[in-house]
C-alpha cells in the first residue's frame, strides 16, 4: 500500500452495478423524453396551441375578406379555399420549429438540460424525442387551424396521402431545424432572430397567401429556390389535385432538404455541439 492510501475493498456489502441496457430501457428513455416534451407544450397549450390557431384564423378573416371574389387560383379555386391549406401548413411548420427550438434554449438557459445530459440517452434518442414532439405540436396546431377554418370555404381532399406525407416531412424537417437553432443559440433573442429573419420570411414568401404563378418571372424563379415553397405546394396538391409544380418535384426537394437538415442535426447532437463542453 502506498503512503497515499489505497481504497479499502471488500469490507462491506456493495450495491449491484446497474443492469445492462436493453432495447426496452432504450425505448423507455426515448418515450419518456417524447412524453416530457409533449407534456411541456401541452401544459401551456393556451400559448402553444390556441394562440397560433387564433393567428391563423385572423389571417383567414382579413385576407379572405379582402380578396375573396377578386382572386381565383388554379382556374376555379376560390381564394379562401386556396388560403386555408396554406395557413394550415404554415402553422404546422412554424410550430414544429418553435417547439424544439424553444424547449432546448429554455433548458440550456435555465440549466435544467443537465438532467438530460447525465442520462444514457444517445443522440438518436434526443433526435427522435425532440423531433417527435415537434411533429405532435405541428399536427395538433395544424389540425386546430383546419377545424376552425374549414367552415369558411368548401375544401376537397383530392389526395390525402400527399397531405399526410408533406405534413410529416415538413414537421420533421422544421423540428430538426429547430433543434439545430436551439443548439446553436445561446440567448433567447438569437432564437427570435432565427424565427423572425429566416423562418417567417421564408414561410410568408413561400406561396401561403398567393400562387407563385401570379408573380413576375424573376420572383417566380426566386420562389423556386425556397424549400418552404415545395412544402406548401406539395401539401396543397393533396387538397386540390393541382399545384404550381408537380408534387413529385416537391417531394424530391423536401426529401433532400430533410436528409441534409436531419444529418446535420444528428451530427451536432452526436458532437454535443454547444451543450457538452
Amino acid at each position: 500500500m502506498s503512503s497515499l492510501g489505497a481504497p479499502p475493498r471488500g469490507a462491506r456489502p456493495l450495491v449491484a452495478p446497474a443492469p445492462a441496457e436493453t432495447p426496452a430501457s432504450v425505448l423507455s428513455g426515448v418515450r419518456t423524453l417524447l412524453y416530457k416534451e409533449v407534456l411541456r407544450f401541452w401544459k401551456v397549450s393556451f400559448q402553444t396551441v390556441a394562440a397560433p390557431v387564433l393567428t391563423a384564423v385572423l389571417y383567414l378573416l382579413i385576407f379572405g375578406h379582402v380578396l375573396e371574389g377578386r382572386v381565383t387560383v388554379f382556374g376555379s379555386v376560390g381564394y379562401t379555399s386556396f388560403l386555408i391549406p396554406g395557413l394550415v401548413m404554415m402553422s404546422v411548420l412554424q410550430n414544429a420549429f418553435a417547439n424544439s427550438s424553444s424547449s432546448l434554449i429554455q433548458s440550456k438557459i435555465t440549466g435544467n438540460l443537465v438532467f438530460l445530459l447525465v442520462t444514457p440517452l444517445s443522440h438518436w434518442a434526443w433526435f427522435l424525442a425532440y423531433v417527435g414532439a415537434s411533429l405532435v405540436r405541428g399536427v395538433v396546431v395544424g389540425a386546430g387551424v383546419m377545424l376552425v377554418t374549414v367552415w369558411f370555404a368548401p375544401l376537397h381532399l383530392a389526395a390525402p396521402g400527399w397531405i399526410l406525407l408533406f405534413t410529416v416531412a415538413g414537421a420533421v424537417l422544421m423540428g430538426a431545424l429547430g433543434l439545430i437553432a436551439g443548439l446553436w443559440a445561446e440567448k433567447f433573442d438569437q432564437i427570435a432572430a432565427f424565427q423572425n429573419f429566416l423562418i417567417m420570411p421564408m414561410t410568408f414568401l413561400s406561396g401561403v397567401f398567393y400562387s407563385i404563378q401570379s408573380l413576375p418571372p424573376f420572383w417566380q424563379a426566386v420562389s423556386h429556390l425556397n424549400p418552404f415553397f415545395y412544402m406548401i405546394d406539395g401539401f396543397r396538391h393533396g387538397f386540390f389535385g393541382v399545384s404550381d409544380v408537380s408534387p413529385w418535384t416537391s417531394l424530391a426537394v423536401v426529401g433532400c432538404s430533410l436528409v441534409v437538415v436531419c444529418s446535420l442535426c444528428l451530427m451536432l447532437l452526436r458532437r454535443g455541439y454547444k451543450i457538452r463542453h
Partner: protein
C-alpha cells in the same frame, strides 16, 4: 475494479488549466471527499465523470466503463447532484422524478420515489410544482433526481452549499445510510467538518492537481497536530502572523510540539498580549487543508502510487 477511476485527466478552458493531469481511484463502497478552494478543478472533474465536459487528455471510468467510449453504461451507474440549483418549472416533484427515472429505463418505481421523498423530507411536496418550492426544497429534489435510478456511484457537488442545518442533517443521514448499504459516494464540499466526519478518504485539489490524497485519519495525523486557540483584542505580533489563522477576535496558531507552544506563549507575553479563553487542541481538517493549500505546489502525484 474501482467505482471511479481517473487517469491523467487534463482540461484547459482558454488560458485556464482547470485540470493539469489528475489521477484518482475511488474504491467501491468508499465515502470519498474531494476538497479544494474555488477554481481548483473539482467541478470540472465531476463534469468529466458525468459526460458534461470532455477531457483534453486522459481517461475516466465509472465501475470500469469509460465515460466516453461506453458512456451509456457509465451513466447508468452514476447519479450526479449538480452544484447549480436548477429545476424544470413545468413539472411537479413527482413528475420530475418519474421523468428522470424514465430516461434511465426505470419506470413503475413509485415505491422507491416515495421512499426518496420520505427520506429527504419531501413527502408533502410530491405534487407541488417545482416553482413553488424554496431553495432548500429544490436542493432536496436535485438529490432525489440523482438517486431515482438507484445508481451504485453517487456524486454530490457541494450539496450543502447555502442550505440550512436541518437539511444538512437530513441529507447526510440519508447519504450515510446509502453508503452503508454499499453505494460509493464522491463528495465535494466547502464544509470541512462535514468531510472530516463523513469521508474515509480525501483528495485535495489545488490549481488542477492532486496535492494530497490519503485516509482522513492519516491526513489529520500526519500534519501539525497541535493547535492553540484563544481570543485576543490586540494585534498579533508580526512574527506569529505567518502560522496563524485569525477570524475576528479568534486566533488559531499551529504548533508542532510542546516547545513550540511555549515559544508562542512567550512571544505573546513579550508583546504584552493577553490571550483569553486559551485552549490547546488537536488540529482539524480545516487546519490540514490550510497548511496544504499554503504549501508550495508539489510535483504531480504519479498514477502508480495512487491507483494501487
Amino acid at each position: 475494479m474501482y467505482a471511479v477511476e481517473v487517469i491523467d485527466v487534463a482540461r484547459r478552458f482558454g488560458p485556464v488549466q482547470a485540470l493539469a493531469g489528475i489521477d484518482l481511484a475511488v474504491g467501491e463502497g468508499e465515502f470519498f471527499g474531494l476538497l479544494g478552494p474555488n477554481g481548483a478543478g473539482k467541478t470540472t472533474l465531476i463534469s468529466i465523470l458525468a459526460g458534461l465536459t470532455r477531457a483534453d487528455r486522459g481517461s475516466a471510468r465509472i465501475l470500469g466503463h469509460d465515460v466516453i467510449a461506453d458512456f451509456r453504461a457509465a451513466r447508468r451507474n452514476l447519479g450526479v447532484v449538480p452544484q447549480e440549483l436548477v429545476f424544470d418549472p413545468f413539472f411537479s416533484v413527482r413528475e420530475a422524478l418519474r421523468i428522470q427515472g424514465g430516461y434511465f429505463g426505470v419506470y413503475n418505481n413509485d415505491a422507491w420515489i416515495d421512499e426518496l421523498l420520505a427520506n429527504l423530507g419531501l413527502a408533502d411536496k410530491a405534487n407541488a410544482n417545482m416553482r413553488q418550492l424554496s431553495g432548500g426544497m429544490k436542493r432536496r429534489v436535485l438529490v432525489a433526481q440523482a438517486l431515482v435510478h438507484r445508481p451504485p456511484v453517487i456524486v454530490l457537488d457541494e450539496p450543502t452549499a447555502g442550505v440550512d442545518v436541518e437539511l444538512r442533517q437530513t441529507l447526510w443521514q440519508f447519504i450515510a445510510r446509502l453508503n452503508k448499504e454499499g453505494h460509493t459516494v464522491l463528495l465535494t464540499t466547502h464544509y470541512l467538518e462535514e468531510a472530516e466526519a463523513l469521508c474515509n478518504r480525501i483528495a485535495m485539489l489545488k490549481q488542477g492537481r492532486v496535492v494530497a490524497l490519503d485516509r482522513t485519519s492519516a491526513l489529520l495525523a500526519g500534519t501539525a497536530s497541535t493547535m492553540l486557540r484563544f481570543k485576543l483584542d490586540r494585534p498579533l505580533p508580526t512574527q506569529l502572523l505567518a502560522q496563524s489563522r485569525v477570524t475576528g477576535r479568534i486566533v488559531q496558531i499551529t504548533a508542532h510540539d510542546a516547545r513550540e507552544v511555549e515559544s508562542i506563549l512567550a512571544t505573546l507575553h513579550a508583546a504584552a498580549c493577553e490571550p483569553e479563553d486559551l485552549e490547546i487542541g488537536r488540529a482539524d481538517l480545516e487546519d490540514v487543508f490550510l497548511e496544504i493549500m499554503q504549501a508550495e505546489m508539489p510535483q504531480r502525484i504519479p498514477a502508480a502510487q495512487v491507483a494501487h
